[in-house]
Amino acid sequence: MSLVQKTPATRTPAPARRPRLTDDNGRRVRAWELILRYVLLLAVLALTVGPFLWQLSTSLKGPTEDIFSSPPKFLPSHPTLHNYERVSQTIPVWDYALNSLKVATANVVTNCVGSALAGYALARLRYRGRRATTVVFVLAMLVPAESIVIAQFTTMRDLGLNNTLVGVVLPGAVAAMNVLLMRNAFLNLPYEIEEAAYVDGANVWQRFLRIALPSVKGTLAVVAIFAFMGAWDDFLWPLIVLSDPSKFTLTIGLNYLHGTFANDERLVAAGTVIAVAPLIALFACLQRYFFRGVGEGAVKG
């Protein structure tokens, strides 16, 4: 599944004097082809990562530096953190970051616990209505969130949870797709071990916690990471459910910053860097699970 990780980046060179690059068949890769590949790779790299770097560069440019110059200046002449200070004076950006962190952490916990429990029930426990439960989760997965946001909002208002962080978390607290992911993970475990534990007198909680759960850590990590990323990046739902600026999450705060101080590009740039840096760091550390999640999610989706 995690193709990116398993394949080594470099091939061990042949014992010849000049190391040669070979492809997967052991055939030599022609030099012009290699050069062409790197040129294309660097071009795409500039397109995908360049915009982030430009944003970073803008955020580090001081108030006296011309950010609109033509031809553009890619590097700040006097890098300064002044804009980060200013953005925290303009909007409570650290409070927003904390709100985002709370929402994302809560989303991770509820999704991991809820989907592991439900997934285990669907995969391993026999009870009347198991098939109906599965159908419920499959149907829920097929309903696009965008088509029910208004009703979700009125539901939250009826519960008195609009404009709270709890209200932000609840609709996605146990995503149906994660339940089905966990169900598949449990189904792929060999049945015999749990059967043996059952014969030895382990009850259902012991079998779940001591035997099944430790074997699906990988899938659980995928669920955790995507729950974190989903909550941290979400926009439409928090935009609808939160109205009090002191409760904003980072994405909504950024939208607010952009709407109010649209012409202060340095300020917006600093805000976006604060919002994106934690996720890029997380991604850099846990790439394997990000890529694995795409594979598993796509099969299900």
Binding site: V29, V44, S70, V149
Partner: protein, 322 residues
Amino acid sequence: MATSTASRTRPSRPARRSPWRPARHPAGRPVSRVRRQLPTSPWLFAAPGLLITGAFILYPFVSTVINAFTDRRTLIPGRFVGLANFRELLHDDMFWTGLRNSALYVVGVVPALVVLPLLLALLVQKNIPGITFFRSAFYTPVVASIVVVGLIWVWLLDERGLVNSLLETIGVGKVGFLSDQWLLLLSAMTVTVWKGLGYYMIIYLAALANVPRELHEAAAVDGAGAVRRFLTVTVPAVRSTMVLVAALSSVAAFKVFSEVYLMAGPSGGPAGEDTTLVMLVQRTGTGLTGRVGYASAISLVVFVVTVVLMLLVLRADRREDS
């Protein structure tokens, strides 16, 4: 099916005969058993997930369907009005604008997201030094929040932003990416494609890994060039993945909200001409005067169209199979 019917009528009843329930448990009333021992009912395992899904996905869905036939507002409980909301839709210019823009989004974005990530996957498929770095770097836009991505591009495409300053340097002159109705929509599409590239690239990489190498070799021996091999070997081999990508990306494209909202502003660009359907839902249904009933009717249209899109793509797949 008989089991599921039974469960619907008596949801709290645990299984009567289950090989997973130790036999030494005396058959007592479920309530007392739960109290005396560790709760072992399978329903307890499923409960958190079922509660959340029921209360915040399925119930809102049902109430969306019901509200669509009422004149409910945020603070006023509605009355049943029959098909009035849908009749109003037919004469609402903004609805047709939204439908047009969301449909255009599918037409513009889906072909790009089916083809470009495949080419990108071919580019990063071969294991050459540093390739893992490139793969990860190409994935970065997927990780970033759509708000961050949107704001980055608003600044890049600004009248005085990087793209225009580059265009000016090479003598093309400024382009009003964010002020013209159509250019704005096109710019938003570009952002969607840019953000989606890495995601679908990973999906294609997994599919490409399963293409038998012998096919490529046989084609090469027969004298097929790179382009020919791409069309006759690679494309047929990953065709089902292309259908999957088409399905995923068309549903996502029709529901577009954030990109256009951020780039065109909450009111949807010049005279609201860049409003998409989901933007219209958000604008009509929220706030103190929000027309919940009318917004629900638009939501139903969004739902029906996404389901139809999904079925169309899958059906196209089946037809090609036979």
